[in-house]
């Protein structure tokens, strides 16, 4: 599995996805190949996919440290930890000063699994921002 195969599959999928979402893929070149996937209608929250030796990582950036209301950091962290298990397939993490939501898939995942993962990740991201809105500026 590599990002180009994923891009090809999602592009040929077009309107026929099982998830009802339409994906637009754009590879980003760099030391590690990254695929930027925009969900149509949700372009503000793109998903970044990278394939490593043993897993497929799908990451969506949520908000920056600077967007957290002063004084509510600890409470927000607790809420995020509590939400981590109930949230299907995705988990929270932090990259640099940005909070992210991510899902990791095995290299042997099918295209269908990947498509499902992307849809769930996108839905989770929207829901999380909505739910955590009280802690954000």
């Amino acid at each position: 599995m590599n990002i180009h195969k994923i891009a090809d599959h999602l592009n040929t999928l077009a309107d026929n996805s099982d998830t009802g979402l339409v994906f637009d893929c754009q590879p980003i070149s760099g030391e590690v190949d990254v695929l930027q996937i925009s969900v149509i209608g949700r372009e503000e929250l793109p998903i970044f996919v990278s394939v490593t030796d043993d897993q497929i990582l799908c990451i969506t950036y949520l908000w920056g440290e600077d967007e957290v209301k002063p004084g509510s950091l600890a409470e927000m962290h607790t809420s995020m930890l509590e939400m981590n298990i109930p949230m299907p397939l995705s988990s929270f993490s932090k990259i640099g000063d940005k909070y992210v939501i991510f899902g990791a898939l095995s290299m042997s995942s099918s295209f269908h699994d990947i498509e499902h993962e992307l849809a769930v990740l996108s839905n989770n991201a929207l829901e999380v921002i909505d739910d955590m809105g009280e802690y954000l500026v």
Binding site: V32, V34, G41, I59, L62, D97, G133
Partner: protein, 229 residues
């Protein structure tokens, strides 16, 4: 230091210098070499184990054979005694004594092969566990590294395309607005469609002469004439 702590230290330190590799490539390569060495040792240990197990099986067969031989000769000796042939019985007894000493030697080597095999099996299991653990650690280091590189590629892409990450709440509002607009359009289309179907029903009724009819020129003329009166 545990691998978790190393990664955490590296990630926190690296956050100030974006794009800097968390673990230098050289130490990753050394680690990979160590894993390969351990795998070679494992392969060798497995080969040794196969050899020892083969020896163990052959020794076990030999022990069985000698035991059978002994009981057979014991039978011969008894028969010789029954015939009163003491000299022959003694000869057979000597043979049995020789076989018994051979048996003792073989049983000893069988025991030694068995303990060797057990030791090697434990070694193989331990090496396999260790290699799995090394690989897990390497995978963690590599994933962290890869995520850092991916992050820097994403950041570069954002700065080069002059776009930046929007405020999360703003993003959500915009997405919700788009969804609302889409829903409204869908609803409008539905309303339009139902109106269309109303119209078509009306047309059918009209064609059948049911319901309100178009004002024809004649009916207008009739009305005007009626007014004149």
């Amino acid at each position: 230091m545990s691998i978790f702590k190393k990664i955490m230290t590296a990630v926190r330190g690296g956050a100030t210098e974006v794009g800097e590799s968390i673990v230098d490539a050289n130490s990753t390569r050394i680690f990979e070499q160590e894993i390969r060495d351990a795998e070679n040792h494992l392969t060798k240990a497995k080969r040794d184990l196969t050899g020892v197990m083969a020896q163990q099986m052959s020794a076990s067969r030999e022990v069985d054979r000698i035991k059978r031989d002994i009981s057979e000769h014991e039978g011969f000796a008894t028969q010789a005694l029954e015939q009163g042939n003491e000299a022959l019985a003694l000869e057979v007894a000597e043979k049995i004594a020789a076989l018994e000493s051979e048996l003792a030697t073989n049983e000893q080597s069988l025991a030694s092969f068995e303990s060797n095999a057990t030791r090697l099996k434990e070694l193989v299991k331990k090496s396999e566990r260790q290699i799995t653990e090394y690989k897990r650690q390497l995978s963690m280091v590599k994933t962290t590294e890869s995520v850092q590189k991916a992050t820097s590629a994403i950041t570069d892409n954002f700065s080069s395309s002059n776009s930046k990450l929007l405020n999360a709440k703003d993003s959500l509002e915009r997405i919700k607005a788009k969804q609302q607009k889409f829903d409204d359009q869908l609803k409008a289309a539905e309303v339009l469609e139902s109106e269309d179907s109303d119209n078509s029903l009306e047309a059918k009724l009209k064609a059948a002469g049911i319901g309100a009819q178009d004002n024809s020129a004649n009916s207008v003329l009739d009305r005007l004439k009626a007014k004149q009166k």
